[in-house]
């Protein structure tokens, strides 16, 4: 093999590696970071009296009114952020599982159980949390969507 061909092969390999890394970052951004940020935006500006927005009255003062219209669509305000959180968590765990727990059949079931547990645990502490069956459905759909997009071969 000539040195020219070798150089070409090294360049191609490095190109593939860069592309692969970019793809991973894109996936992390799209499936983990973005849903979390979208959910957080709804919590920050559309919901009142949660730890996340306790100290940003100045923001709420200006943006809350624009979210009042959304109040009519309570699913968007109360269930969509939970769906985003569930989807983001499921995706993060699927990415972890793909690298460290591949071939373990029960791994997706563990993730589903974790997501559902995060909802049903709210039944035990009714003064702090609000249990909602729509959230349970949202968790299930978030799991399914994340499984189809991130884990299924």
């Amino acid at each position: 093999m000539t040195s020219n061909a070798k150089e070409k092969m090294i360049a191609m390999a490095s190109n593939v590696s860069i592309k692969s890394k970019t793809k991973i970052f894109q996936k992390i951004f799209l499936h983990i970071f973005l849903p979390l940020v979208l959910g957080a935006i709804v919590y920050l500006l559309g919901r009142q009296n949660v730890l996340l927005n306790a100290d940003i009255y100045f923001l709420k003062k200006y943006f809350y009114k624009s979210f009042v219209a959304i109040h009519k669509h309570s699913i968007l305000l109360y269930n969509a952020p939970d769906f985003c959180w569930d989807y983001s968590l499921a995706s993060a765990l699927f990415f972890w599982g793909k690298k460290y727990a591949s071939g373990r059949r029960f791994f997706p079931i563990i993730i589903l159980a974790l997501l559902l547990a995060s909802e049903f645990i709210q039944l035990l502490m009714p003064t702090i949390f609000t249990f909602d069956w729509i959230d349970v459905l949202a968790a299930f759909f978030a799991f399914m969507l994340s499984y189809l997009l991130n884990y299924r071969k």
């Binding site: 979390l36 957080a40 919590y43 919901r47 009296n49 949660v50 730890l51 996340l52 306790a54 952020p81 959180w85 983001s88 968590l89 993060a92 765990l93 972890w96 690298k99 460290y100 995060s118 003064t127 702090i128 949390f129």
Partner: protein
């Protein structure tokens, strides 16, 4: 310990924090707290005279209501204190004393101290 374990622990911890961060800060307001909120709303709504109502007193649980006024031109503060006594009883918040306070100046000025019947 493996790197993968710490990564998993990090992921779960991060999501646990975000889970807790989206829960309500304040405990539900029931009983006296709810009655007090109703009373406060009642007084502040469309009022040109009152700008604040607060539980007050020297010891817990507070046995008095402090009414802060913003219109110093009105003179009959005893009548206002009487009304506050009566209305707070109607809201299931009987109080022993009502203070009418003007703190628009440099220091708070108690205009009336009324003992409720």
């Amino acid at each position: 310990m493996k790197k993968s374990f710490f990564l998993l622990l990090g992921i779960l911890s991060f999501y646990a924090i975000t889970f807790i961060a989206t829960e309500p800060v304040v405990k539900p307001c029931n009983g006296d707290c709810a009655n007090y909120e109703r009373l406060r709303t009642y007084f502040l709504k469309d009022s040109n005279t009152i700008y604040g109502v607060q539980w007050c007193g020297r010891q817990l649980p507070y046995d008095s209501l402090c009414v802060y006024i913003k219109d110093t031109t009105r003179k009959d503060w005893n009548a206002l204190a009487d009304s506050v006594c009566m209305i707070s009883t109607n809201f299931n918040l009987p109080k022993r004393h009502v203070f009418v306070i003007n703190n628009l100046g440099t220091a708070p000025d108690t205009l009336v101290k009324e003992s409720c019947p």
